[in-house]
Amino acid sequence: MKLFAALLSAVLAWSQAPARAPEPPEAMTLARRAYELARAGHAEEAAASLREAARLAPGNALYRSALGGIYERQGKLEEAVAAFFEAVRLDGANARLREHLESVSLDYGAALARERRYRAGLALARQTVARFSQSSSVYLMLGLFETRNQENLAAVSAYRRALELNPESAEASVGLGMAQSSAGLIKDAEATFQGGLKRFPQDAMHRQAYGVLLVKLAETGAANRSRAVEMLESALKMDPSLAEAHYQLGSLALADDDAATAAREFALAAANGLDDSRLHYGFARALRRLGKAQEAERRLELFRERKKAEAGSLEP
C-alpha cells in the first residue's frame, strides 16, 4: 500500500507541478492508468503503462521512479535498479531518489549474494560504487563480491575504503580482516582484527570472525589453537546465538574425537539458524561416532540436499 501511495503522490505531484517540460498528454493519462492498475493489483499492466509513458516523455523522472517502485514490489530488483538509475539521471538533484537507488542497489546485491551470483554481483557493485562513491555500505558490497570473485587484493582496498568512510563500521573492519586473510596478508589481517577488538570491544561478530581466522591459522601452526577457542568462546559469551562460532567449536571438538561436545555445538549452531552442507556433514560424523546411526543418516541426507542446492545456485 505504501508503494501505491508513493506512486499516487508522485503522479499527482507531477500533474500539479507548475513548471515542467512539455510532454504529450497521453503520457500523463498512461501514468494515471498505471496508478489505477497498480492499485487493482495488476502490476504487469501497470508497468507496461508506465514504460509507455516513459517512452512518450523521456525526460520525466517520476515515471521512471514509479516504474522502479513497481519493479521493486515485484521483486524485479535488476529492473528496479535500472529504472531508478534512469530517474536519478533525469533528476540528479533529488536526494531522496538517490537514497532510494542506493538502497535498492544494496537490496539487489544482497539478493545476488544469497543466490551466489557473484559475477553479476560484482558488476552491480562496481556500477553502484561509481554512483555512490561516498557510501561505506556500497564499498562493503564491493568488497564482498570482490572476495567472492577471488579479487582479494581489490577487496582489501574496498573494505579499507568502507572503513575510511565509516570508521564506526564494525562490519567494514571484519570484512577488511577477512579480505586480508584471503589475500594472504595474514599479518595485516591479524593487526586489523586486533585493532578491531580494541575499537569494537562489544562486537561479538568481530570476535567470531577473528576466531575463525585463528582456527585456520592454527591448522598451519601460525596461531595457537587455544587462542582460537578463547576467541570463539568470548564471542559466544557476548552473543550465544552466533551459529558460526558454535560450528567452529564443534569442528574443533570433532577433530579431537570429542563427538559429544561436537554434537552439542552442532546442535546449537543448527538451533541458531545454520543450515548449510558443512553443518550437516560435521553433525553426521559426530552422530556416527556416538553410535546414532539413524540420526547420522538423516543428517547425511540433509548434507546431500544442501550440497545439491548449493551447487545448483552457482552461476554457470
Binding site: L185, I186, A222
Partner: protein, 547 residues
C-alpha cells in the same frame, strides 16, 4: 694447530651442509626432451593437467628406463617442433639414450596425459598404456626394443574420454593385470570456455566441466580386454577423476582403489569380489574435507606412514585446501591427519599434483615427495601468499606420521609447474631417485644422494601364479626390532608409473630379518638371510598357500 684447522673444518662442514640430498642430473643424463602443452588464448583446461612420466625397465636389463608423456597441440597452440613422447634407455652409466623412434611410441593421435607401465600379458616385457584425450593407447612391448599399438585389438581405447591417471592392478586375482583409467570431464577442443581470474583471461574452474565416469577394463588373458565399468558399478560414479592408487586397504585379499577427484568427492572403491566395487569414501571420511567440501584432488599415493602395517593415503589438492593425509586405523572411518601430521602447515600455498611416499633416506620411514604448480598465472594478484610457479617439497617423516620440510638441494629452492612425478632407482644404489614433468619445459631427473651410509634391502618380485609384476603384493620385513610393511601398488602419484621394485631402508645398522611376501594370488612366502645392499629377485612359489 687447532686455530689453523678450524677454518678448514668449517669449510668442510659448509660443503657437507650444501650437498644436495637430491641432485638434478637431467642434462648430464642426456635428457633433452621438453614438454609442450599447446597453451593459447583459448585456455583449454586440458593444457593445465598434462605431463606424465614413468620409470620402467622396458628392455629388461635391470636398469629402470624413463618415459615422458607429452601434451600436444591445440587449435590455437601450435608447436614449431613435432610434439613427441620420449622413451629414454638407461645406459647404466648415469646417462640415458633417446630410444623413442626405434620404440615407435613418438606420437599418438591423442593429446597426451600420463602413463601406466606393467607387463599386462605376463610375457616378461613391460608394456605401456598412455592416457590422453580423446583416447588412450596401449603399446605392447615386442621384447626387442619396439612396441606395437594394440589398442584396437585389446579394446582399451577409452574412446571419447579425457583420461588422466591409470593403474594396472589385478582386481579379480586371476593373475592378469586389469586396467583402471581415471577419467576427468566432458571436454572438446571445439568448445573453448573463456573465463577470467583477477581480471585476466584464465582457465575456467573445473566445475565448469561435467565429470565423467572412470573406466575399468578386465584382462581376458588373450590380448583383449572387456569393459566392465558398468558391471563393476564404476560407470555410475561420474566425477572429475585425476589420480588413482590400487591397494588392498582392508587386508581382505582383494585390491581396492582410491580415486582422487577434482572438486568431486574422492572415491574409496572397496572391492567386494565378484567383480563389484562399492564406494565407501563417505563412510571412510575421505570423500570430503572436514567441512564437507570436495577438494581438488589431483594425485594420490598409498603406504604405511605411521608404521602400523596398514596402508594410509595421501592426496594432493589445491592451494589453501592442504594436501591431505588419511590414516588407516583398520576400521572405518580413516582418521584425517592433515593438520596433526603438519601437512597443512607445509602445503597450504601449493597446488599439488604428483605425490610419492618413499623412504628417501632409508631410515625405515616413508617420507613424502610432492610436486606443485598453480593454474592461474595471475594468482599472486589475488593472494600474495600463493605463486604461479611452486617448488617441489620433500617432507621427512619422524616415524610416527609427522612431517618436516627438508631443504634437499637447489631444485627445492626453484619453482616449477610440476605435474607428473615418478620414483625409480635408476642407478641401482638402493636410494630411490625421482623424475617429474613441469609444463612447457625440460623435465627434472633427480639423483637421490640422501641415503649414503644407510643400509637397504632391495626386492624385485616375479609373479608366477600372480601377475608377473606382483602388483598388489604386500611385503613385511622384520629388521632390528622393527617391522616394515610395503606394497607394490598399482598407479600412485599423478599421471605416473613407478619402478615396481621395493626398497627397504634399514637405517645405519639395521639387519634384515625374515621377509614375508603376501602374493596377490594368496600365497605367502617367507625368506630369511637376504643380504643387504643389493636387489634380490624373488620368484613366486607355485605352492599356492603357505600356512
Amino acid at each position: 694447530m687447532k686455530l689453523v684447522l678450524l677454518p678448514c673444518l668449517l669449510g668442510l662442514l659448509a660443503l657437507v651442509a650444501e650437498a644436495p640430498l637430491f641432485r638434478e642430473v637431467t642434462t648430464e643424463a642426456g635428457i633433452t626432451w621438453r614438454h609442450f602443452n599447446g597453451q593459447s588464448a583459448d585456455r583449454f583446461l586440458v593444457e593445465s593437467t598434462t605431463g606424465g612420466v614413468a620409470f620402467l625397465d622396458y628392455d629388461s636389463d635391470g636398469l629402470p628406463d624413463l618415459l615422458f608423456v607429452n601434451g600436444g597441440e591445440t587449435p590455437g597452440g601450435r608447436s614449431q617442433q613435432p610434439v613427441r613422447h620420449a622413451l629414454y634407455r638407461n645406459l647404466g652409466n648415469g646417462r640415458f639414450a633417446d630410444a623413442t623412434a626405434k620404440a615407435g611410441i613418438e606420437r599418438g593421435n591423442s593429446y597426451g596425459m600420463g602413463a601406466a607401465a606393467a607387463d599386462y600379458d605376463n610375457d616378461g616385457h613391460t608394456d605401456i598404456y598412455i592416457t590422453g584425450y580423446p583416447a588412450g593407447i596401449l603399446y605392447r612391448n615386442n621384447g626387442n626394443g619396439t612396441f606395437t599399438d594394440v589398442t584396437a585389438r585389446a579394446g582399451v581405447s577409452n574412446q571419447g574420454e579425457w583420461g588422466a591417471s591409470a593403474a594396472w592392478f589385478d582386481y579379480d586375482n586371476d593373475g592378469r593385470l586389469d586396467l583402471f583409467i581415471a577419467n576427468y570431464a566432458e571436454f572438446s577442443f571445439a568448445d573453448p570456455r573463456h573465463c577470467e581470474f583477477a581480471g585476466s583471461p584464465a582457465y575456467c574452474a573445473q566445475t565448469a566441466y561435467r565429470g565423467r565416469p572412470s573406466r575399468l577394463y578386465h584382462n581376458n588373458g588373450d590380448g583383449t580386454f572387456q569393459d566392465v565399468s558398468a558391471a563393476s558399478g564404476i560407470a555410475a560414479m561420474a566425477g572429475r577423476a585425476m589420480g588413482v592408487a590400487a591397494i588392498d586397504y582392508d587386508g581382505d585379499g582383494r585390491q581396492d582403489l582410491f580415486v582422487a577427484r577434482d572438486a568431486s568427492p574422492n572415491l574409496l572403491l572397496h572391492n567386494r569380489g565378484g567383480g563389484a566395487f562399492e564406494n565407501l569414501a563417505l563412510e571412510a571420511e575421505v570423500a570430503y574435507n572436514p567441512d564437507g567440501v570436495a577438494r581438488a584432488g589431483m594425485g594420490v599415493d598409498a603406504g604405511d606412514v605411521d608404521g602400523d602395517g596398514k596402508p594410509d593415503f595421501v592426496v594432493t589438492n589445491f592451494d589453501s585446501e592442504y594436501h591431505a593425509l588419511y590414516l588407516n586405523r583398520g576400521r572405518l572411518p580413516f582418521r584425517e591427519a592433515t593438520v596433526t601430521s603438519h601437512l597443512a602447515r607445509h602445503t597450504r600455498p601449493y597446488v599439488g599434483w604428483g605425490v610419492r611416499l618413499l623412504d628417501f633416506d632409508n631410515d625405515g620411514d616413508l617420507d613424502l615427495f610432492l610436486v606443485n604448480g598453480h593454474l592461474h598465472e595471475m594468482i599472486s594478484q589475488s593472494n600474495r601468499a600463493v605463486a604461479y610457479r611452486e617448488p617441489p617439497l620433500l617432507l621427512a617423516n619422524d616415524g610416527e606420521g609427522h612431517f618436516s620440510r627438508v631443504d634437499a638441494g637447489p631444485v627445492f629452492q626453484k619453482s616449477y609447474l610440476g605435474r607428473g612425478l615418478a620414483a625409480g632407482d635408476f642407478d641401482n644404489d638402493g636410494a630411490v631417485d625421482m623424475a617429474f614433468v613441469s609444463l612447457n619445459e625440460a623435465p627434472v631427473l633427480l639423483r637421490n644422494e640422501a641415503a649414503a651410509g644407510r643400509r637397504w634391502l632391495g626386492v624385485r618380485l616375479r609373479g608366477t601364479v600372480s601377475n608377473r609384476d606382483a602388483i598388489g603384493a604386500r611385503l613385511v620385513l622384520k629388521t632390528s626390532g622393527r617391522t616394515l610393511t610395503r606394497w607394490i601398488t598399482g598407479g600412485g602419484s599423478f599421471l605416473a608409473s613407478h619402478d615396481h621394485r621395493v626398497v627397504f631402508g634399514l637405517g645405519r645398522d639395521g639387519v634384515p630379518g625374515e621377509l614375508e611376501i603376501h602374493w596377490p594370488a594368496g600365497g605367502v612366502q617367507r625368506i630369511s638371510g637376504l643380504a643387504p645392499g643389493r636387489y634380490h629377485d624373488i620368484i613366486e612359489s607355485t605352492q599356492r598357500k603357505t600356512p
